[in-house]
């Protein structure tokens, strides 16, 4: 499915979401509070979409809020979309996808480690890259570590 068709199709499925054409792929954004798991379920199980491959999962700190960014690919149709989900900065919480896409189990641990996003329903949510006793979430924009970080 081409990008234009995808946008039309997605708009039918998710009238509440805002869908724009990004630099490469359609970007579909949800405000915080939207039912995330059912969205993913539709995207994965719909026969014309079949987004079965999550190839990138990350988070961006916009200082006022977080945005979870999911890049989805369909191994059957080879079309991609970018899924964005806005998160509250004070209590960043989102449903875990680790039972939908197994790969996200590790990606979510990494995001928890570096951004402090809580993934509800994650089987093993603990720090993965940093030590257990690390204080703070280093990829947040307000993170500062005067001891380890030497600024140029």
């Amino acid at each position: 499915m081409g990008n234009e068709e995808l946008i039309v199709k997605l708009q039918e499925l998710f009238p509440a979401a805002s869908i724009i054409q990004g630099n490469d792929w359609p970007e579909i954004s949800f405000e915080s509070g939207a039912d995330f798991l059912s969205t993913i379920d539709v995207l994965k199980s719909d026969q014309t979409l079949a987004f079965d491959y999550l190839f990138c999962e990350t988070c961006v700190d916009w200082k006022t809020h977080f945005t979870m960014v999911y890049h989805l690919d369909s191994t059957r149709f080879r079309h991609n979309i970018v899924l964005k989900y806005k998160l509250d900065r004070e209590t960043p919480e989102i449903d875990s996808l680790s039972f939908v896409y197994r790969t996200s189990e590790q990606h979510e641990r990494e995001i928890f480690d570096l951004f402090g996003i809580i993934f509800k329903g994650h089987p093993n949510l603990k720090r993965i890259l940093l030590t257990e006793d690390w204080v703070g979430y280093p990829l947040r924009k307000d993170y500062d570590d005067p001891i380890n970080m030497i600024k140029l």
């Binding site: 890259l129 940093l130 030497i150």
Partner: protein, 183 residues
Amino acid sequence: MDVIITEPSTPFPGSVHEVPGGGIVLSTLDDVINWARSNSLWPLVFGTSCCAIEMMSAASAKYDFSRFGFEVARATPRQADVIIIAGTIVNKMAPVLKRLFDQMPDPKYVIAMGACATSGGPFFYNTYSVVKGADHVIPVDVYVAGCPPRPEALLHALITLQEKIKSGLTRDQIRAQFQEDGK
């Protein structure tokens, strides 16, 4: 400081004392011990990143550090003599490195290979998790610059370490010597 490599192969320490019918090699026990130690540096299999690949290249047929007797790479620190820190040391790895060093029996030597192990290198500024030089964790005998140093540079470092062992001086003595030279 330049390390001058003169002899093509390592001679047994001491001088030949000419007596009728031949010669006797005279040597002190210390020299013999240092000779043995310097010619039998078994490295620990320890590579964290890019420099480990160049360390593997140094072991490969083209550069072949087995010529010096270094090829007996031990996987267990108990049997190793020299730890080549090939790669970045991060805060999470630092206690492990310290522990590995403590597990090695004396005499033990450390080579900091590459910019990361020497000073943090490319990850010196604006990183939150990198140890800025392995010598913050364990004492280092020889530093090699380069990112990563080519295999010959590692061989050069190993020869430099051999020279140091043969001289029988400690790290502090050598550093004090340089400071005197500098003034």
